[in-house]
């Protein structure tokens, strides 16, 4: 958000500030419609519990989208992504209240590659749970 990151100014090992993103039941309803993924575990608490989940959970791709926003906001260019990968390690549980849940994303500059490419290692947590692991983005910077 603070202007585009520049390749020359980026240092390996730099920790990027964590950002928290809210997720409510309304977020999930909207994401169902926008993505076309209407899996009932993302909107129906009764069925979510019946298959052993603690409550309704967010789409993995919703969580990945928050990590994507973290990266593109840092880069200052929403089209800077060259590669982006995550492992979904735990669900984001979204209670039926006004507060919902929070996804906290943080990152570190892991490596600078040729071609003005920068590798970010990402971490995403919700409450005590680490919801993404092996999360990594490669962006091309000016």
């Amino acid at each position: 958000m603070s202007g585009p990151a520049r390749y020359a100014d980026v240092a390996t090992g730099t920790a990027l500030p964590a950002v928290s993103y809210p997720v409510t039941r309304l977020s999930l309803v909207k994401y169902c419609g926008a993505s076309g993924d209407f899996n009932v575990i993302h909107w129906n608490e009764r069925i979510a519990r019946s298959v052993g989940l603690p409550d309704v959970i967010a789409h993995g791709m919703f969580t990945m989208a928050q990590a994507g926003r973290y990266v593109t906001d840092w880069a200052g260019d929403a089209g800077a992504m060259v590669e982006f990968g995550v492992r979904f390690s735990a669900p984001v549980v979204v209670p039926d209240d006004d507060a919902g849940a929070t996804i906290q994303v943080s990152g570190t500059v892991e490596e600078k590659l040729d071609g003005n490419r920068v590798v970010l290692g990402l971490t995403a947590r919700s409450g005590e749970a680490k919801v993404l692991t092996r999360a990594r983005a490669v962006v091309r910077l000016p």
Partner: protein, 151 residues
């Protein structure tokens, strides 16, 4: 052990490409709203052009909207033997040539690029290429689904 075994003959199999999908400004804006990202380059053509793009661009995870239609054909193929009720999304990765943008007309084609059994679980990886109808590569999505085996 899985009660229904996965058919390993499907490794490497390529499925038919989807019909052309036209990326619209309205759909990109809807998706950006759904993920809660207020970035104007997803909504406003002038903002996108000021950032160097010909039209509004899509967020990095938007291609899943298109890729799922193609990879769904692969994972739902009855001959594959995947028990979809037991499936969770394990991993996702994209490799991009450029961002999708409004006006792109694209198709998606999936192949099964990995089948792995780890204890009672089966990991199925699909690789989905998204290209414009003119053949320009936009991105490739790698999606790993995990089928939890029945005890």
């Amino acid at each position: 052990m899985s009660t229904v075994g996965i058919n390993k003959d499907y490794l490497g199999r390529t499925f038919p490409a989807t019909s052309p999908y036209e990326v619209s400004r309205v759909k990109i804006a809807e998706f950006a709203e759904a993920i809660g990202d207020p970035n104007p380059v997803f909504r406003d053509r002038d903002a996108a052009q000021a950032a160097g793009y010909p039209d509004v661009i899509a967020p990095p995870t938007f291609p899943v909207v298109i890729a799922t239609a193609a990879s769904g054909r692969a994972v739902a193929d009855p001959g594959l033997g995947l028990n979809y009720a037991m499936v969770v999304h394990g991993e996702q990765r994209f490799e991009y040539s450029r961002p999708l943008r409004a006006g792109d007309v694209v198709t998606a084609q999936s192949a099964i690029s990995g089948i792995r059994e780890v204890g009672p679980m089966t990991m199925l990886t699909t690789e989905t290429q998204i290209r414009t109808v003119d053949g320009e590569h936009i991105c490739t999505g790698f999606s790993t689904l995990v089928e939890r085996g029945a005890a």
